[in-house]
């Protein structure tokens, strides 16, 4: 037992107690100060952080605007696609989870593992997609078993659907995930990675209007990322609707008539340039892109020798062949080189100078030929001479006034301009002067001349309507959710030429004979209920040199596909009061009369099927006709 006096009575100790107590109080004061700093000065900052912890902003994708044809037929739609995703905080050990999930989805466990690894780059709070676009049944299975599948969720997003399958795929274009490069551009500043964006054609051109505005869901989650309740929701606003000038029925008829051949068909309204059908074949299935194409599928599309990804309406450049003859005829008439009644003798070939000989397609020759017969039976010799007497620059001038050799100004698709050669062009391009022989072959649409199917349709429409080249247009109107038109088509004249009515009529009469009179090159394609006018063309792909080869060429089956001639046919109907123009190009199809004209015929059948054609335009089927 200590004999010391109590501490209270020891002054030194007492002082220590006072100091100790003050120290204790002081340190508690520091703690209080810190609390004041955190809770009073920092309250806003920390409440923000706390909100960020517990509140997730989930984007609700807006359905993309639908695309309709001119009559309101749905061409491009949306459907809900279910994606099985994983919230990584909630999953725990994914290796334990995947066997069960793979079993439910009836896929390989490895596939899930692959997606899991691939998605590790995503921000942690973002759901990691494991399997995209699962069927409704698989989705329901996963939902029923959600108790066994912590952290697994079903995401619903709208995906493009195509009721008509591959039809007009080149026109619609396709969607793809926005790329890292695009995300860096200001035009895509409002996009998030993983979002789908229009990559080509209409989908790309009208991306802004079709896209709509995404909605947002604010949800409260716990630390495992499990959704506890929804706080607020802002509904998405779907994109604007696109009404095209396309007529689904005509489009379909044209695609069907082309069967599996490569080529293009364009149908124009001759009086305003509206495009009623826009066919490029072979085509692709845009639904592949909606769900994402695999590398193999993409390579197959790109390496296909028939170029399914190329929009041939805009980017296919073909020698127009005999379909160019109307232009040459009008140029010759305008230049006064010929009159409709000027005749030339055709005995199967034409000699230029001493050493050059140009053959007519008909070896036996056409005999005495005037303009009407030259077009109707497609006599080359008549045009060789008419062309020579007119001169290349006169021909080129006429061609240009029909819109050839220049872009039509089509909205998208990297349209090509085709080619109309002139003396100046050749000098500039090759540094050599123009030869008469080149004028000769230009007169039948061979040589340097190139035109796109769209230009050919436009040219034909101008012949039909008296000389006006309308800008080809595809969008009729853009309509917002309330049904208000945001944009309406206004026809636009690209150029107008006052051709002499007499000359035009001579050419048109001849074109009508091509189809409707015995001996016309498209005589087999005539229709009973409506008279249409047209012109066949057969464009050489390679120049054949010898007669032996020519003999061989008679049998198309023997010539390798890529050396076969292109078949063309341009036309309009009804002949006396034109409404629509149709241009058909069948790549390596052989003869225009046999391969291309029947396609146009099918288009007219579809177009006039439910139309009451004025009596005077309907051919009266007389007995003995």
């Amino acid at each position: 037992m200590s004999l010391n006096p109590p501490p209270e009575e020891t002054p030194g100790l007492r002082r220590r107690f006072v100091i100790s107590s003050l120290l204790v109080a002081g340190i508690f004061f520091v703690l209080a100060l810190r609390l004041w700093y955190l809770q009073i000065l920092g309250v806003e900052h920390y409440r923000n952080l706390s909100e960020r912890n517990r509140i997730r902003h989930v984007a609700i994708r807006a359905p993309r605007g639908e695309i309709f044809d001119r009559h309101g037929t749905l061409l491009v739609d949306n459907r809900p696609a279910f994606t099985v995703s994983a919230l990584r905080q909630g999953v725990g050990d994914h290796k334990q989870l995947f066997p069960r999930l793979a079993e439910l989805l009836a896929i390989d466990e490895e596939q899930l593992e692959e997606s899991w690894q691939a998605g590790q780059g995503l921000p942690r709070y973002r759901p990691l997609p494991l399997l995209e676009d699962v069927g409704r049944q698989a989705m329901e299975k996963v939902q029923e078993n959600s108790v066994d599948l912590p952290g697994i969720m079903i995401e619903v997003k709208p995906l493009r659907a195509y009721p008509y399958g591959e039809m007009a795929a080149h026109l619609f274009g396709y969607l793809g995930e926005v790329t890292e490069d695009e995300l860096r551009q200001s035009a895509y500043s409002s996009y998030h990675s993983g979002e789908m964006v229009g990559k080509t054609a209409l989908e790309r051109m009208f991306e802004e209007k079709l896209r709509g505005t995404a909605g947002q869901k604010r949800i409260e989650v716990n630390v495992r990322g499990r959704e506890l309740r929804q706080l607020t929701t802002r509904n998405p606003r779907s994109g604007q609707r696109l009404y095209l000038t396309i007529d689904a029925k005509i489009q379909q008829a044209a695609e069907t008539a082309l069967t599996d051949k490569a080529g293009a068909v364009v149908v124009l309204d001759v009086n305003n340039g509206e495009i009623l059908a826009f066919v490029s074949k072979p085509t692709f299935d845009p639904a592949w892109f909606a769900r994402g194409v695999s590398g193999d599928e993409w390579r197959e599309l790109i390496n296909n020798p028939r170029h399914p990804m190329t929009n041939k309406v805009l980017r296919g450049q073909y020698p127009p062949g005999s379909t160019f003859k109307m232009v040459v005829a009008l140029a010759a008439l305008e230049a006064g080189a010929v009159t409709p009644s000027t005749t030339f003798q055709c005995n199967g070939s034409f000699k230029l100078g001493k050493s050059y000989e140009y053959r007519c397609w008909k070896k036996k020759g056409h005999g005495t030929v005037d303009l009407h017969k030259a077009i109707k039976e497609s006599c080359d010799v008549w045009f060789y001479q008419a062309g020579l007497e007119t001169g290349i620059d006169q021909i080129a001038s006429a061609a240009q006034r029909f819109g050839l050799g220049q872009k039509t100004g089509f909205l998208f698709g990297g349209e090509r301009s085709g080619l109309i050669p002139t003396r100046a062009w050749k000098k500039k391009r090759f540094g050599t002067s123009w030869y008469n022989g080149e004028t000769v072959i230009t007169s039948i649409g061979q040589g340097f001349v190139l035109a796109t199917p769209l230009q050919l349709a436009s040219m034909t429409a101008a012949i039909a309507n008296g000389g006006t080249v309308w800008k080809p247009q595809i969008v009729q109107k853009i309509v917002d959710l309330e049904g208000e038109a945001d944009w309406l088509l206004t026809p636009e004249k690209l150029m107008e030429t006052a051709w002499s009515e007499k000359s035009l009529q001579a050419v048109r009469d001849a074109m009508e004979s091509v189809v409707n009179d015995v001996g016309g090159t498209a005589w087999r394609s005539q229709l009973k209920n409506v008279r249409f006018a047209g012109k066949t063309g057969t464009a050489q792909v390679v120049k054949r040199k010898s007669d032996e080869e020519e003999e061989q060429a008679k049998d198309d089956e023997v010539i390798p596909y890529q050396y076969r001639d292109h078949a063309l046919f341009v036309s309009y109907a009804p002949a006396d009061k034109p409404q629509i123009a149709v241009a058909v190009v069948v790549e390596h199809g052989g003869h225009g009369s046999s391969a291309a004209a029947p396609v146009a015929k099918a288009v007219y059948e579809a177009y006039f099927a439910d139309k009451t054609v004025n009596n005077d335009t309907v051919r009266q089927v007389a007995p003995g006709d």
């Binding site: 037992m1 200590s2 010391n4 109590p6 501490p7 209270e8 100790l13 007492r14 220590r16 107690f17 100790s20 107590s21 204790v24 109080a25 340190i27 508690f28 520091v30 703690l31 209080a32 810190r34 609390l35 004041w36 955190l38 809770q39 009073i40 920092g42 309250v43 900052h45 920390y46 409440r47 952080l49 706390s50 912890n53 517990r54 409260e220 989650v221 716990n222 630390v223 495992r224 506890l228």
Partner: protein, 365 residues
Amino acid sequence: MFDRRLLTNFNWTYLLLILLISAIGIANMFSATSSWTTAVQPVYIKQLYWLGLGVLVVAIVCVFDYRHLEYLSFSLYGGNLLLLVLVLAIGRTSMGATRWISLGGFNVQPSEIMKIVIIVALARYLSETEHLRGFSLRELIIPGLILGIPALLIMKQPDLGTALLVLCIGGTMALFAGIRRSSLIFLATSGLAAVGGGWFLLHDYQKRRILTFLDPERDPLGAGYHIIQSKIAVGSGGFSGLGFMKGTQSQLSFLPERHTDFAFSVFAEEWGLAGCLLLLGHYCLIVLWGLHIALRANDRFGMYLAIGVSAMLFWHIVVNLGMVIGLLPVVGVPLPLFSYGGTSMITTMTGVGILMNVGMRRFIF
């Protein structure tokens, strides 16, 4: 021999203060664990049992005159050292540390007992050895060994938090006994040097904790997560708090270890600065009251006992609060009466019992 004066001198207010803090702690635990559905018995009920046991411990400790401890002190100390050695030899390992030893079916944590025993042993030594000018370096060797040996053994387990606390408790007692200024300066400088050197002896996770304390953003999802989430919880409490059971950080489980080491963060989020200051005041009061008991103790041994217990309470409170509000690194130190855990409750209540024992026997010779 039972003296009625003992009951008269029993400090009922102090016990009520302790019970009040415990009650708040249990209510807070109820809120912190309300989202748990799997527990067989909710932890707040278990904590209630521990509190009952704690009160029993206070009663038992009060019955015997604390002066018996004086005679027992060195045997207790020796026995405890033996247990610490045994822990290292045959202890139960969990989570990379060996802290527990099985004694007759009970799991005992000798390092925790050492918190009390070191107080008793040092109280005995310091009360018998007074130096008017304070301890010199040489005179500090023996108390240094008394303190250092168990601290080293505990650090070896490794249990840095408890070792640190034992050192703090003993150090505080020695400091109170008086250390010469020159010795103090020497100790402080060599202590700083030791900290520098000791850095290399730390486990990786301990280094990480310290680095992360200095900059929690280094590892926001790993080691820094605790501090960041705790500060968010405390800070978003604001002045008046989000309300009982309404703290999102705790209710949605963003706050880890929220019924044990980070229980105060839950309280701070739900009760705000107002609640915190009130609780802080109570804690401050039990420490100061402890010092007051020491001041009025009947003898030097009683005084040092009371100072030791006050230091134990003080350091637990300050280290835990300092941790959850981001002033000190994360060391696993529970907040007395507030964090869930039987061990902590029994240790604290034993200390409280000793304090009251000293307080009620100040008039008995």
